[in-house]
């Protein structure tokens, strides 16, 4: 299989676009939940190819972008106290209330960008005299690997490794969007890789409870268009069901081993989301039996809440109530260099996408000029 070309075949793309066009009879607002999906939708310019009746509402971005100031502040404080603070690459630029991890690094803190939490365990093993903290961020997709790092550290008896958990869960966030009476989303593309771990059952319940169709969707252009097609069919037929359009990867029961590991290591907690607020049961922290590896406990971190940006309209933008330029901070106090809310942090978040598209023709004109291009 050629991953880099097989699911990006321009001819098959056209065929799927034709099928979507043929099924659609009215306007639909569709939210893709995962930042990875948004990234590829933007990367391949898919919004410019879809029928105008479809409005894609970009979801909460990536788990990195929704990490609240308070947690970034805790990570920055730890780094400034002299620990080796490790995290994933894009976490480094998310602003805290004083500074980002990248700015802390510039100020002399030992902040390291890793690709795997097991790297952090290795650093702890090789530097017994230093405290190593892994700033664990991610949806259900990355949580098992981060939990495994804790299990490894425990098995090796490492006392200088700990986890600062910022994990977030997808279904509670969807629930929070749906319970807002102003929410104007007609259907969801659920995050395929999250479902690889967790399966589809949670989404079946969610679809039934809120009478909204949800389609488990992958990430390559053909996966995304297949997901959109199946969602359009459910919407047009008025069926509030959950479907799996990513069967090549996702099983209904998910990955039982990874789920068991999650249950063993983590407990559900309330979590604050940047720009949205606190969502009940939407986060994962280490269970009390693993508290020796919990950076919050180990370093007695200050639980005090920091102020979220008051004027940031991220919550309303994510619910499809406002467009980014309608936010008073857009393009002035909030830019990709100095982002206030999650949708501006991520380069393909809704606000950043609007920011970068400023100066281009509208979607319709863009489509016409494709045909006239030399």
């Amino acid at each position: 299989m050629k991953l880099l070309s097989e699911y990006r075949d321009p001819e098959l793309v056209l065929r799927l676009l034709g099928k979507i066009e043929a099924r659609i009879t009215r306007s639909w607002r569709i939210m893709e939940v995962c930042g990875g999906q948004t990234h590829n939708l933007v990367k391949y310019g898919i919004p410019s190819l879809l029928p105008q009746a479809i409005t894609l509402v970009h979801g909460p971005g990536c788990p990195v972008c929704v990490t609240p100031r308070r947690l970034i502040d805790q990570a920055v404080a730890l780094a400034e106290r002299g620990v080796v603070l490790c995290s994933y690459g894009d976490m480094l630029r998310v602003p805290g209330s004083r500074k980002s991890l990248r700015e802390a690094k510039a100020g002399g803190a030992d902040v390291r960008m890793l690709y795997s939490p097991l790297e952090a365990v290795r650093i702890a093993r090789e530097n017994p005299g230093r405290e190593v903290v892994f700033f664990a961020v991610g949806f259900e997709t990355t949580a098992p690997a981060n939990g495994l790092a804790v299990a490894h550290a425990a098995r090796e008896g490492l006392r200088n490794f700990s986890l600062l958990s910022a994990h977030v869960l997808v279904p509670p966030a969807m629930e929070a969007l749906l319970t807002d009476p102003d929410c104007r989303i007609d259907g969801f593309l659920a995050a395929g890789h999250v479902c690889t771990v967790m399966g589809c059952e949670e989404y079946e319940a969610l679809a039934a409870r809120h009478r909204i169709p949800i389609v488990v969707t992958g990430f390559e252009p053909l996966d995304l268009l297949q997901g959109i097609l199946e969602l359009v069919i459910l919407l047009e037929e008025g069926r509030a069901e959950a479907k799996n359009a990513y069967g090549r990867v996702v099983r209904r029961e998910g990955n039982p081993e990874a789920r068991a590991l999650l249950t063993r290591i983590f407990a559900r907690v309330d979590r604050e989301w940047r720009g949205i607020g606190t969502i009940p049961g939407s986060g994962l922290d280490l269970r009390s039996e693993w508290k020796a590896f919990d950076a919050r406990v180990k370093f007695a971190l200050d639980p005090e809440k920091s102020e979220e940006a008051g004027e940031c309209q991220a919550g309303k933008i994510l619910k499809g109530i406002l467009k980014p330029p309608q936010c008073p901070l857009f393009g002035t106090k909030c830019t990709p260099i100095a982002p206030k809310g999650a949708p501006m942090v991520s380069s393909e978040g809704a606000c950043a996408a609007y920011f970068h598209f400023a100066g281009f023709a509208s979607g319709a004109e863009t489509k016409e000029s494709v045909a006239s291009a030399p």
């Binding site: 930042g35 630029r93 390291r112 598209f357």
Partner: protein, 345 residues
């Protein structure tokens, strides 16, 4: 390295750089003696603080610093980059590179053998590019105050009589040419960076570009409107800057931009966009449409068989660059807010 090129390590009484090597005293003379020999040039042999050289008329001048880590990587090292980088900046002005001034900032404790290896690379690259190193400077910083070797090169070149290179000369309908696959240098560096090393056969694309550029100027003169080499920020950044500086729209086709299969796979795994990954031997030429086909052939025949026409200057969206994706969708190619960071999701 060229096997015919011999560059034996000189016999010295020390094996590591000490603070005294930057003191201006005897220790410094001991260190520099073999260096003057290595770069033998009459102007350098004067051992003066500057060099007196002759040029043909209008000159181009450029300056650049090199701080790459690690110092040695597949396909090159900091020394090769320090020559090619400055040679290429002169080439992009439309100039024939002639002279380089070389600044060395060395960290206390640096093994002499490493320094010598870098100096030998500089000599070989300079020979290959027919540029002379005519003056220089050496400083030593305390251990921990540098990163083994920092280099700085300043270059002087004779401007081609027909050169008129400026983003403001881009015109609607101009074609955009690229000399080869992008992203190799950045991925080669990442493949050997601490904590990230992965096995790959990808080598840096570092290469001098002046010969190709001079051939273009000899043949097409003022119909070559704009030239820029893609370095940090990759080819996407060059295109975004060109649109911004020229006040014109640019449109490119993703499917026409060559990306090596291994580089594409590595970027996919690492969560990077190859269009924003660094190159060291790639350039974009914006040329008049009438000569685009012949200019592309000229680039291909001057050692870049994979050169491609990737887009055009558009009448719409002035100041912005638009990419038509491999599946036909459209998206902007903006400047990144900072460096490209790997995505976790």
């Amino acid at each position: 390295m060229n096997p015919a090129f011999s560059c034996p390590l000189p016999k010295l009484d020390f094996s590591e750089i000490q603070l005294g090597h930057g003191s201006g005293g005897m220790l410094m003379q001991k260190l520099l003696e073999p260096v003057f020999g290595l770069f033998s040039h009459p102007a350098l042999a004067e051992q003066h603080d500057g060099a007196i050289v002759s040029t043909a008329g209008r000159i181009a001048i450029t300056t650049d610093s090199f701080v790459v880590s690690p110092l040695f990587f597949p396909g090159g090292d900091i020394g090769t980059l320090a020559v090619h980088g400055t040679v290429n900046d002169l080439a992009m002005c439309g100039a024939r590179p002639r002279y380089l001034a070389l600044g060395l900032i060395l960290e206390e404790g640096l093994p002499i053998a490493e320094l010598w290896k870098v100096l030998c690379s500089i000599r070989q690259a300079a020979n290959d590019c027919s540029v002379a190193i005519v003056t220089g400077d050496t400083k030593v910083v305390e251990r921990g105050k540098g990163d083994r070797i920092f280099l700085h090169t300043t270059g002087v070149g004779d401007l081609h009589p027909e050169a008129a290179i400026s983003a403001r000369r881009m015109e609607v309908g101009d074609r955009i040419l690229l000399n080869g696959p992008v992203g190799d240098h950045g991925v080669a560096i990442l493949s050997v960076r601490e904590g990230l090393s992965f096995e790959s056969a990808i080598e840096s694309d570092t290469a001098p570009l002046h010969r190709t550029v001079l051939r273009l100027l000899d043949r097409f003169g003022t119909q070559i409107h704009f030239l820029r080499d893609a370095t940090r920020g990759g080819v996407a950044t060059v295109l975004a800057e060109a649109a911004q500086q020229g006040g014109k729209g640019i449109e490119v086709e993703e499917a026409l931009i060559p990306v090596g299969e291994e580089v594409g796979s590595a970027c996919e795994l690492l969560g990077l966009d190859p269009l924003y990954v660094a190159c060291e031997g790639r350039f974009v030429a914006v040329v008049a449409p009438e000569i685009a086909e012949e200019a592309l052939l000229e680039i291909q025949q001057s050692g870049w068989p994979q050169a491609a026409a990737i887009g055009w200057v558009a009448g719409e969206h002035p100041g912005k660059t638009l990419l038509r994706s491999a599946i036909g969708g459209r998206r902007p190619l903006p400047l990144l807010p900072g460096e490209q960071l790997p995505r976790i999701c």
